[in-house]
């Protein structure tokens, strides 16, 4: 089973842990509803849509309200340290959480003792703290955007806010930045870098570039990175090998975006409904290639 850990932008939202479903475009979990705009709700929505298309069970969600004070994240960390010991997830995704080195270490201590060890995916705040802690290699997959890749490549920066200028955002330098991130031990086993072109890489360098279809507007749309992480997590959880899952996910996310005929003003909730059709198209193409 897939589990997703993250926050929602509502300080009143209580700690919930349970199966997450999608009803009329909203995430429903433990009797609570969350509108899908971006962030962890968008990740969950994409994962649920993928699960439907792949006939997989719905994901388990750990959610709490946090608007940046970190109070919610702290309660969620406390809960996880106890609860993860009792669960057996195939794939575990950490997402929008307040970075905190101490809590990251405690969560990692719990995960290290799990057998079998789940596939670990980190994005957003939890990817930041994994890097800050020097523990990136404990993860199977990071899903940074280009700005975050520059942060991973900067061995001195504790947060993307401090990324040094010479490393910042030059798309054609992605292979150099990837190499630098691995050189300093600041990358997961695999990287799926989202941008104008998506890059799939490991410590040997770029393994695949996914650049079709090309929709320039996607870069401006908040939540398209969250959907990519949700798609790849759902594919891994379905049993697809991680390398294939990453490449398929990048193609599906781009194609769904293209189906929505996006402008920079498009919202990610307009893209998510197109995910099943995009998945069907990509998998059909793969089957034809194999035959």
């Amino acid at each position: 089973m897939l589990a997703v850990v993250g926050t929602v932008p509502n300080p009143e939202f209580p700690m919930v842990a349970g199966i997450a479903t999608l009803e009329n475009g909203d995430i429903c979990i433990q009797g609570r509803r969350v509108t899908v705009k971006r962030g962890t709700p968008a990740l969950l929505a994409a994962a649920i849509k993928m699960g439907e298309a792949l006939s997989q069970e719905e994901p388990f969600g750990y959610l709490i309200g946090d608007i940046g004070s970190g109070d919610g994240s702290q309660k969620l960390y406390q809960y996880l340290v106890k609860d993860l010991k009792q669960k057996n997830f195939h794939t575990l995704v950490f997402h929008y959480l307040q970075p905190h080195i101490g809590w990251h270490s405690r969560i990692q201590s719990v995960i290290e003792k799990l057998t079998p060890k789940p596939n670990l995916v980190a994005d957003a705040g939890f990817m930041y703290v994994a890097k800050m802690s020097g523990r990136s290699s404990a993860y199977d997959l990071f899903t940074p955007d280009m700005g975050e890749l520059a942060f991973l490549a900067d061995e001195l920066a504790p947060h993307p806010f401090y990324t040094r200028g010479f490393l910042l955002h030059e798309e054609n330098r992605a292979p150099d930045l990837i190499a630098r991130a691995y050189q300093h031990g600041n990358a997961a086993r695999y990287l799926l870098v989202k941008g104008r072109k998506d890059y799939f890489a490991d410590r040997n360098g770029v393994q695949a570039i996914i650049d079709h279809p090309m929709e320039e507007a996607m870069e401006a749309i908040g939540g398209t990175g969250d959907t990519l992480t949700g798609i790849v997590a759902a594919l891994i959880s379905s049993g697809m090998e991680l390398r294939q899952a990453a490449i398929v996910a990048a193609r599906v996310n781009r194609l769904a975006g293209s189906y929505a005929q996006p402008s920079p003003g498009t919202q990610v909730s307009e893209i998510i409904p197109h995910l099943p059709k995009a998945l069907e198209e990509i998998l059909k193409g793969r089957r034809e290639l194999i035959q």
Binding site: R38, G68, I101, F161
Partner: protein, 183 residues
């Protein structure tokens, strides 16, 4: 969050120091840093938000660099405002500089400004904020909810309602967008 829970009490070792007249103020959390910066700038002090040295770093951290000679007056001002710093420490090694580069993308009808990991997009004609993307701290989805769909002049500033370094990066993108779009 007690962002500085791992704060070491010992004074930081002085090595090569090119900032001898500067100190940094340590706060309980990033929200207080942002409030304190607003207050001190309004009062006319030359202060800068910076990254803390590794010795006291625990997460999503910021400190305020300030003229050491004015420590007494500055800390009194902050105490009176209800945001006393946890500690005022001389700068003994280079502090991390916040990002100061912007990437601009012109989509024709839309303009996008990126600062660090945060991107802000407006429709040029109406000056409506149509999208916010990037970032990983939990205030980003909240900031987006509060700002998207509003005019550049009417939207709340990330400085007022944000809490984290991602919020601060969005503030920089927001200021740059205003500089480019507003008279």
């Amino acid at each position: 969050m007690g962002a500085f829970g791992f704060l070491k009490k010992k004074s930081l070792e002085i090595t090569e120091n090119n900032n001898g007249d500067r100190g940094f103020l340590v706060f309980e959390n990033t929200s207080e840093v942002i409030q304190a910066e607003n207050l001190l700038k309004k009062k006319g002090w030359e202060v800068k938000v910076m990254g803390p040295p590794p010795e006291i770093r625990s997460g999503c951290d910021l400190v305020i660099e300030f003229p050491l000679i004015e420590e007494l007056k500055i800390t009194k001002t902050l105490q009176d405002a209800g945001i006393p710093p946890l500690q005022a420490v001389p700068v003994s090694s280079p502090l991390l500089e916040p990002v100061d580069l912007f990437q601009i993308k012109d989509f024709g009808r839309y303009l996008m400004v990126q600062a660090a990991n945060m991107k802000l997009t407006v429709e040029k004609e109406s000056l409506t904020i149509v999208n916010i993307s990037g970032g990983g701290c939990p205030d980003v989805p909240y900031l987006a909810e509060q700002m998207v769909g509003k005019g550049l002049k009417e939207a709340p500033s990330p400085r007022e309602i944000g809490h984290t370094l991602c919020g601060y990066a969005l503030q920089l993108a927001y200021e740059e967008m205003k500089r480019r779009c507003l008279p």
